[in-house]
Amino acid sequence: MAILDTLRAFLAAQPPALLAGLAGVVILLGVAGLVATVLTALRPDKSYLELRQRIASWWVMVALLAGALLAGWQATVAVFALISFMALREFLSLAPIRREDRPAILAAYLVLIAAYGFIAADRYMFYLVFIPVWAFLGLPFLMAMLGQTRGFLTTAATFHWGLVTCVYNLGFAAFLMRAPDAERLPAGAAGLVFFLLLVTEFNDVAQYVFGKLLGRHKIAPTVSPNKTWEGFLGGWLATGLLIWFLGPVFTPLAGLGLAVVAATLPVAGFAGDVTMSAVKRDIGVKDTSHAIPGHGGVLDRADSLTFTAPLYFHLLALFALNKF
């Protein structure tokens, strides 16, 4: 009984909107699982293994992130640090890297630790300049001292691209957890992060579904042959509407600020997806790893988030949050 009481007190202390949002996601996943089960039973000739794997992986990701969001900023920052680490490890493993760069790879992981350290220490200004200025200069300097000049500029750019997308940009999602209660957040700081993840992943799924249903005209044939104008526009409209109607429940955004987020975030998600596709095509792989069954690698799942997280953060800072 003591455990039940503790649990009840824990849930009562959470913002009701956040709990409702998480419950909504759980119901959505339950319905998806049911549909997959019915499909498998109705059509035994077709294999729905990947769909079922995909949904099973969603359960794991939702459980991990929901648990972290409910547990507080420490757990959320730790989970995002882990996501950044796995994404950066995938990126550096696939990118062309020179033999001599092993110390620079180690340094890139140290940059990750320092960046998340600034989030944990709530030092926003340090975080803002650390990777774009100091890691940008420091890593190439280290590479110069390692003495290999063949392919220097390409390798320096590769490191920086990996650090900015996998660490700096994803870190903004974690930094939202440091928004204070004084900001009058309708679902707490965790609600801000929850909403970012919800709309980014919804946008991914909506673009995919609209593309499958209506797709005719290719939008980026050389980079992502499966992406179509119909999928992009359908996803944009659906996600824009979702942001417009649910935004006030989870964020302090309203009016112009909300409209700008609704109009731009789906485009950023699409841009992240396509840009990372170009990187993967350059490297010569379809998936960045098999870390998430049915989805591919961490970077395959988080590609749109590397673009939406900084945009969402900066629009919130511009329109709604006083702290940043």
Binding site: E90, P96, S289
Partner: protein
């Protein structure tokens, strides 16, 4: 001692391998769960052994025995104890230059044959030593694995390609760097009755797995 080994492998080796390499396994269901069986993998780093011990299901772990060079792993008493009791190595006496093969002869594989006879899963690195990933990424294969297969014709030989371990901890380096490694487990090979043909088949199987591995941009 068996429990200590089991706990260290589950609680230390697995998280460590996952952290350092991501342990991206394709075809895990083709790994043998009981012996006698032979797993033949390419070798570019000590990480290979760690990774292979980390990807076997827990119920098979007690049976997994990596074959390792006696002259390298048993010369120091501390490392020797660790190699025998935690890694669970099957010692293989490598021939030194100038040593006559007929003096040591067939005996170098006696511990490996004993392990197979006891129903263990013996992991061998047919290259005999860690390569540097030059050429096609694989050195000359030594025929010891064929002699084991000949002695146990019913034991399946499972080819495994490990991509990228040589970057995590290359030969001669001491500090490991986390980078993803892909482990590709192939279809089991059966003893074909003739050593050179069997070795050619094993080499082809390993290179075919390598072709499915993600590209290694390492120059």
């Amino acid at each position: 001692m068996r429990w200590l080994r089991f706990l260290l492998l589950i609680l230390v080796a697995r998280p460590l391998a996952l952290f350092m390499t991501g342990a991206d396994v394709t075809g895990r269901e083709r790994l043998p769960l009981k012996g006698p069986a032979i797993v033949a993998a390419n070798h570019s780093s000590h990480v290979d052994t760690l990774l292979l011990l980390a990807i076997f299901p827990s119920r098979a772990l007690a049976r997994v025995r990596p074959a390792a060079a006696a002259d390298y792993f048993l010369k120091d008493p501390v490392i020797g104890w660790f190699s025998r009791h935690v890694i669970g190595i099957v010692p293989v006496a490598r021939l030194k230059a100038g040593q006559k093969a007929d003096r040591v002869g067939e005996d170098v594989l006696a511990p490996a044959r004993a392990a197979l006879a006891a129903g263990d899963i013996v992991v061998v690195f047919p290259e005999g030593t860690r390569g540097d990933g030059e050429g096609d990424g694989m050195g000359q294969l030594k025929s010891g694995v064929a002699r084991l297969a000949e002695a146990f014709p019913d034991a399946p030989v499972i080819p495994v390609w490990i991509q990228g371990a040589g970057r995590v901890l290359p030969k001669g380096e001491t500090i490991p760097v986390p980078l993803n490694c892909a482990v590709l487990v192939g279809e089991p090979l059966a003893w074909s009755g003739e050593r050179p043909a069997f070795m050619a088949k094993l080499r082809a199987a390993l290179l075919a797995l390598k072709d499915q591995a993600p590209p290694l941009r390492w120059s």
